[in-house]
């Protein structure tokens, strides 16, 4: 892997940019690997990267049915934050946030992590109570979060409407300054480049069609559209399709998959300096470095794998955006899209060993997995390498739905569902 640097740019400029190499190779699949990761999104590629760099396991294949980073990695609204209520969630999301800081240097790839602040709005007494509870809980866990008055909120985000006449007036806000955004594609590409350079095989257009198990129940490998590939350890990181893959191994999951939509506006000059979220009116917004407003909508109400969604869901979100930011009422929206998110009953992910020996699963990130990408890959690589969870992901088992030890972010989450 040739290092990217200002000198590399100068060198290539001198010779007509003929020396740039492919960022990752596309080898033919081998018959057998030590570890197979199903799904080349951010989480899967990060897992492969940390298997190689932290645990020295490089005989790894990442299988992807489509193209690398073409699922939810390339479809999310790129928001990063760690202001979750419970200790377990705070542990895993802040682990990720700490890795975001410095990730560009580690990967030698600009993931454009920008700690521009995530501000969550309160519109009524209940919101104030919930958000203040989050502020206190976060601070006890060493996570920055602070309470703002409406005037302070407007100072931090000038286009915000804090008029008392608004239908849902802003009565306060919680601000996590370390929160922000990153470039989603670059995260997948950077991890892919780093993993590939260390010998990981990234195999695109290779759909897993079955999971083979030995007589003793343990995993032997996977059937794919490019033939059988053997491995004693298989990690399923397939987002909306996780339950489909797990069914192939005979494991029924506490998951349901829903379409989640997002949309972007025409590009305009810098106007939104941070991320603004509102649970109550259900919208969140930030501005990309290209100038587009990036707006996240909610999920549809029914299970679907269609990677689209209802227009009324987008309209509902835009109603809320125009309410919070009246200056955007004349903006034109350029495009919208959907991704399929896998949601657990307690809205917390599953990163764990499974009842099948050699089969591991990293799923259930629901509507908010992007922010966790580095931390998720880091602890999932540990889980696979050691056949034992990292202390950070130890609470995120499948068995919690039997024992009742839920991590119940569902009702009190800082996240819009």
């Amino acid at each position: 892997m040739k290092k990217y640097s200002v000198f590399a740019i100068a060198r290539e400029a001198m010779r007509g940019h003929k020396g740039w190499e492919e960022q990752w190779s596309s080898p033919e699949p081998k018959k057998e690997y030590d570890v197979i990761i199903v799904g080349a999104g951010g989480h899967g590629l990060a897992t492969a990267y940390y298997l190689a760099t932290v645990h020295g396991i490089t005989n790894v294949a990442v299988l992807e049915k489509g193209w690398l980073g073409g699922g939810n990695t390339g479809r999310n609204t790129t928001i990063i934050r760690s202001n979750y209520l419970y200790d377990e969630s705070a542990g895993i999301y802040d682990h990720a946030l700490k890795l975001w800081d410095g990730l560009s240097q580690e990967l030698n790839y600009n993931v454009m992590y920008s700690a521009r602040g995530v501000m969550m709005l309160a519109h009524n007494v209940h919101d104030i109570q919930v958000l203040k509870r989050h502020v206190h809980a976060n601070r006890l866990n060493g996570i920055d979060n602070e309470w703002l008055t409406p005037e302070q909120a407007k100072e931090f985000c000038p286009p915000l409407n804090i008029s008392k006449d608004a239908r849902y007036p802003v009565v306060g806000a919680a601000l996590q300054r370390r929160g922000g955004t990153a470039r989603h594609d670059a995260v997948a590409w950077g991890y892919a480049r780093g993993a590939s350079a260390r010998g990981v095989h990234i195999i695109q257009n290779c759909e897993v069609t079955g999971v083979k198990r030995a007589a003793n129940g343990a995993v032997m490998g996977v059937d794919t559209t490019r033939g059988f590939i053997g491995a004693k350890k298989v990690g399923v990181v397939a987002a909306g399709h996780s339950s489909v893959i797990m069914n192939m191994a005979g494991v029924r999951m506490p998951l349901e998959s829903y379409p989640l939509q997002a949309l972007v506006s025409e590009p305009v000059k810098p106007v939104v300096p941070c991320v603004v979220m509102s649970n109550t009116v259900h919208a969140y917004i930030s501005q990309s470095d290209k100038g587009e407003l990036v707006i996240g909508a909610g999920t549809d109400q029914y299970v679907s794998y269609s990677q689209t969604g209802g227009l009324h869901i987008l309209q509902h979100t835009l109603d809320a955006i125009c309410e919070m930011f009246p200056i955007f009422t004349r903006m034109k929206m350029l495009r919208s899209w959907g991704g399929i998110v896998d949601v657990t009953p307690d809205r917390s992910p599953i990163l764990a060993k499974t009842p099948v020996p050699g089969l591991y699963v990293n799923c259930g990130w629901g509507t908010g997995g992007f922010k966790a990408t580095p931390g998720s890959g880091h602890v999932f690589a540990h889980t696979i390498a050691k056949d034992d969870p990292h202390p950070i992901n130890a609470p995120f088992t499948i068995e919690r739905f039997r024992t009742g030890r839920l991590i119940d972010e569902a009702a009190a989450a800082a996240v819009a569902h």
Partner: protein
């Protein structure tokens, strides 16, 4: 937006009138406190989440307000049929091979 046929109103109406109520044909035990942890988990948390044909419940919230069941393809979101609550799971689906 989906168009959904309510089997009670016998009309196709826009999705906004309806609320999805999750997977159908999951029977609640008559003796729920006697359920084992395994069985309760299956009843309460485990879902089939199929890529393909799903049997699901809907409620005609802003219409007759009654619950009914539907068969839908989760890849195309196309409804295959709807039927009244309490009717058995259809063994044959119109227009579906297998």
């Amino acid at each position: 937006m989906l168009l959904i046929r309510c089997p009670y109103c016998e009309e196709e109406r826009p999705e906004l009138e309806f609320r999805n109520a999750g997977e159908a044909h999951i029977a609640r035990s008559a003796n729920i406190s006697g359920e084992s942890d395994d069985d309760f988990e299956k009843f309460f948390f485990i879902r089939s989440n199929p890529k393909g044909i799903i049997y699901e419940r809907w409620r005609h919230m802003h219409g007759c307000a009654r619950f009914f069941n539907a068969v839908r393809d989760t890849v195309t979101d196309k409804f295959i049929m709807t039927y009244k609550a309490g009717e058995p799971k259809p063994s044959k689906l119109p227009g579906v091979a297998k």
